[in-house]
């Protein structure tokens, strides 16, 4: 199953500005790889401003309260997000157990999402926002941003 290829295909069909032409290859492992039609977990948007990069990663189904997501940033611009897809609790108020017939969402388990930002960054200048819609949005300042002196 070539989810990576699907990922690339999806990206190229959307209308993007020239800046987004920098299509970072997104590498996924674990259960993120098992979503069909492209990983529901691991879709990435990357944006550039004068001083920083912003990236957004779709992580639906990751309940932040339960599990710790880790985001590793390297100075070269490589980003690696690691986490665990939790078991989706089966509602048991009726006492029924469900056997899953359609499983498009990522099955539970560990996963990682790795990609490269367009340039070098300062891994310390990192500001994440895990939005309530399951999208992790992070701003990372570029390397070499000069602070003007007085």
């Amino acid at each position: 199953m070539n989810t990576e290829n699907n990922q690339t295909a999806t990206t190229t069909t959307t209308t993007t500005t020239t800046l987004s032409k920098v299509i970072s290859h997104v590498f996924v492992t674990g259960t993120a790889k098992q979503g069909s039609l492209g990983p529901p977990i691991g879709l990435v948007d990357i944006g550039v401003s004068e001083a920083a990069y912003i990236f957004r990663v779709s992580l639906p189904g990751i309940e932040k309260n339960q599990n710790k997501i880790k985001c590793e940033i390297q100075r070269e611009g490589r980003v690696c997000i690691q986490g665990v897809v939790p078991e989706i609790a089966i509602p048991s108020e009726t006492g029924y157990l469900y056997r899953m017939q359609v499983q498009q969402l990522c099955p539970p388990g560990p996963f990682s999402i790795t990609f490269n930002l367009p340039g070098q960054v300062d891994p310390r200048l990192f500001s994440p926002t895990f939005r309530s819609d399951g999208i992790l949005e992070v701003v990372v300042v570029k390397l070499g941003v000069r602070v003007p002196t007085s």
Binding site: T16, T17, L19, S20, D45, I46, G47, V48, S49, E50, A51, A52, I54, K64, N65, K68, I69, K70, C71, E72, I73, Q74, R75, V121, D122, P123, R124, L125, F126, S127, P128, F130, S132, V139, V141, L143, G144, V145, R146, V147, P148, T149, S150
Partner: protein, 236 residues
């Protein structure tokens, strides 16, 4: 003033009070190790009298005389005046060490050691600084104020001296915003771990060591500063 023990260094004429740099010093045979003190014989570079040596056992031909300088000059302050190849055992391989001799100012003649990180070229002024950086991925709070203020200007001599009044006017008169953040030298990698709730701050970790809160706070301040100074529109 010269004890010509084979392999030994002639005493440094600059260390005696009232001494001055003479371009025609030394008529004795200088071994290759004397190249590290080019002021003594006009060997090597002019100017700040730098000598460069790659860290770790990279095979210099220096002869080591670890005993006291027999001339007795400043013998009480250190048991060994001259550096030896084994001195930098603590320094990771690939790092460069530079001995710079001050050529002006009240402290002319002293040697400053600088350590340079490979790849980044980051400069450190002491072993402690290097060790701290290796462990924490960043520099200590108080020690890098000089770096913060002079990153736009060139290196000037005698940074080890605390006497800043006699400094040339390259340094900005007032320090820029009180950021204690070394922009030039970020760590190679930081691992950010999400807190227990979505709103909680993430925890930075460098090399399996949690970054101190005070350091983390510095980063946060620097981040805010940068992003507020550069409020350009984002493009996606």
């Amino acid at each position: 003033m010269s004890d010509s023990v084979p392999g030994d260094f002639p005493p440094d004429p600059l260390l005696a009070s009232g001494a001055f740099i003479s371009s025609s010093a030394g008529d004795e045979t200088l071994s290759s190790s004397a190249k590290r003190r080019p002021i003594q014989g006009g060997i090597g570079v002019s100017g700040s009298g730098e000598s460069v040596r790659i860290g770790m056992a990279n095979g210099t031909t220096d002869q080591v005389n670890p005993s006291l300088d027999s001339s007795g000059q400043q013998a009480e302050s250190k048991s060994r005046k001259r550096a030896a190849p084994g001195d930098n055992y603590w320094l990771p391989s690939g790092w460069r060490v530079e001995d710079k001799v001050r050529t002006s100012g009240a402290t002319a003649g002293s040697v400053d050691k600088y350590y340079y990180e490979p790849n980044t070229g980051r400069k450190f002024r002491s072993r402690n600084e290097v060790l701290y950086y290796l462990e924490h991925g960043t520099s200590k709070k108080g020690a890098k104020k000089a770096e913060n203020t002079d990153f736009n200007s060139d290196h000037f001599e005698g940074q080890g001296s605390s006497n800043r009044a006699s400094r040339k006017a390259k340094e900005p008169p007032a320090p820029p915003p009180p950021l204690d953040f070394d922009f030039k030298n970020p760590p190679g990698k930081v691992s950010w771990s999400m807190g227990n709730t979505r709103e909680e701050a993430w925890t930075p970790i460098i090399g399996d060591v949690k970054v101190q809160d005070s350091v983390r706070q510095n980063w946060s301040t620097a981040f805010t500063f940068i992003t507020n100074r550069n409020p350009s529109k984002l493009s996606l």
